[in-house]
Symmetry: C2
Subunit: 333 residues, 2 copies
């Protein structure tokens, strides 16, 4: 059934019906109510494609995820997608999903979306963003774990991780630790590596470059790095790992050396992915406020799409989640 038949069955013109359905002010309350009621009754729904064609609005945004989600982890992705969808829906938008599995040119649907949310991976480049946003012609917001890219035609939601990391190592200092090992990943943040010495001495820890290892991204990398650190002649009494995955490897390494966590060594992770709460012991870690990140992203995007405002940049902090993987420095250390 289309609007013509529907209008006919009500004895009204299609114009009136359309106005009623669109909640326009020019239609009498009585008529509107009647139209709405009968549409419900008869199950009449307007053809979305015709509406999109004539209005030029798709009410659809695309979520573009990196293929390789390493850092983000699946939990991150699902939570992010869920939060973005929620925000999008409240603004009246639907969510189209690209999980990065496709080869073909995405240009084929250039006009089928109103905006784009890109979840950036560590290796996302300016060229990627440029292509995805069609040189900035499609309103776009990029969600990144670090800093904005050098491409000002799109919006950015960025993470300020330093304060949260400072809180993490500061907690270790309060627990009496002095020698804290760092299991890093230059893959994600070379800036942290640079800031770390200052950060550590600031909170009262001793900085020792031999206790900072640039591991990779896999759990095994964390395992190996932790084995190295924990078998040092003068070993660290606590470890901070740049990701929970690395930290979970570190926990396994401690166990493999017959050490208890947190009895013999304290461990802190970063990201608060699902695993963090499920490992044994549950992991103290630095958490990202994903719903807020998503809400900010959608807000930036909507203001580009609807208000035609310029792209913007917003920052967001992290916070420490305390579980059971940290304790006081062991007496014999």
């Amino acid at each position: 059934m289309n609007i013509v038949e529907f209008a006919k069955s009500l004895g009204l013109s299609i114009g009136t019906v359309s106005r009623a359905l669109n909640d326009r002010p020019e239609v009498s309350p009585v008529t509107r109510k009647m139209v709405l009621m009968r549409a419900e009754e008869m199950g009449f729904v307007r053809n979305a494609n015709a509406r999109r064609l004539v209005t030029g609005q798709n009410l659809m945004i695309r979520l573009e995820c990196p293929y390789n989600t390493h850092i983000l982890s699946d939990r991150y992705l699902v939570e992010m997608a869920r939060a973005i969808e929620e925000s999008a829906v409240t603004h009246g938008y639907d969510l189209l999903l690209h999980l990065g599995t496709r080869q073909r040119d995405t240009a084929s649907e250039i006009e089928s979306i109103d905006g784009l949310v890109v979840i950036a991976a560590p290796d996302t480049s300016v060229a990627d963003i440029q292509k995805l946003s069609h040189n900035g012609h499609t309103p776009t917001v990029v969600i990144t774990g670090s800093n904005p890219l050098d491409y000002p035609l799109v919006s950015y939601v960025c993470l300020d991780t330093l304060p949260g990391i400072r809180a993490a190592i500061s907690r270790l200092a309060e627990l009496g630790h002095r020698r804290v090992g760092y299991i890093g990943s230059d893959h994600y943040s070379t800036s942290l590596r640079r800031a770390l010495p200052g950060l550590m001495t600031e909170v009262g820890l001793t900085w020792n470059p031999d206790m900072a290892i640039d591991a990779g991204i896999a759990q095994e990398d964390g395992y190996n790095a932790a084995r190295t650190l924990l078998t040092l002649p003068v070993r660290p009494t606590a470890l901070f790992a740049r990701t929970d995955i690395l930290a979970s490897g570190a926990i396994q390494a401690a166990h493999s050396l017959g050490m208890f966590v947190p009895g013999d060594v304290s461990i802190i992770g970063h990201d608060n992915i699902e695993v963090a709460a499920l490992v044994s012991p549950p992991m103290t870690t630095v958490a990202i406020n994903i719903p807020e990140m998503a809400a900010i992203a959608v807000r930036l995007l909507v203001s580009q799409m609807v208000d035609k405002s310029d792209p913007g940049v917003e920052h967001l902090g992290t916070h420490l989640v305390i579980r059971k993987s940290c304790g006081p420095v062991p007496a014999d250390a």
Copy 2:
């Protein structure tokens, strides 16, 4: 730019251009090549909404996920989404995402999709499916961890979990275990509870109803159940948990009792979610072939959408993934 301007700039009629772009046979090879080339050059892309309107094809399927993903876990969801997207894209379809966060009536977009993939949760009902599929009017496939629902107007992809579970406990028997505890979840499968006694005695284990606990779904439930089982006067030497989440709780329970896994107690999970590989020790578990499940789902859906064939039902098995949480029965037990 629309097709009129584009055609004009080529000195052709819109009919010819349209035919060339649609790869119709009636157009001369020379013309076709020219049209395609210039479209690329000039960046001309046809308006998707106009095409959808006139063809009645949306080339879009919706993925409907349960809000509460407990069992499925996020990994399951992401992998499933990724696999479904991949299959969908090879068939030319895009993926619309509903993560179950919305309240409003989905009827508003009834005609904007060609088909629907529903990931069923344990509590998904016939009424849910009926509503989502618009009484079977929208081609639909339901992916379920157990059996088809009593609603034959849609397709189903089902999991045959029993053979995989049999393989799991059979492995425990081979390792010399006799007393195996079961941490179940009637939430997911009451059928397993019924089949278990037979299964256990079949593979050579002793069946003892006191060693079967109906836990809940949270990690803590697995923890509590395992504490109960492992402090029995005559305790089980191995545990099989219905989900990896429960199993991860069981590992923590063992640690809390000063037991080593697998030295003192062997533990097997089910589902092979991300966590399974990351806990300490990495968990032996029963795995689901998610990409295959997704591929089957999309195939069933496409044959409904394109070939107008009737809904079907397909089954799929699971397999055991051996990691490090199982070992021989301890000598003193």
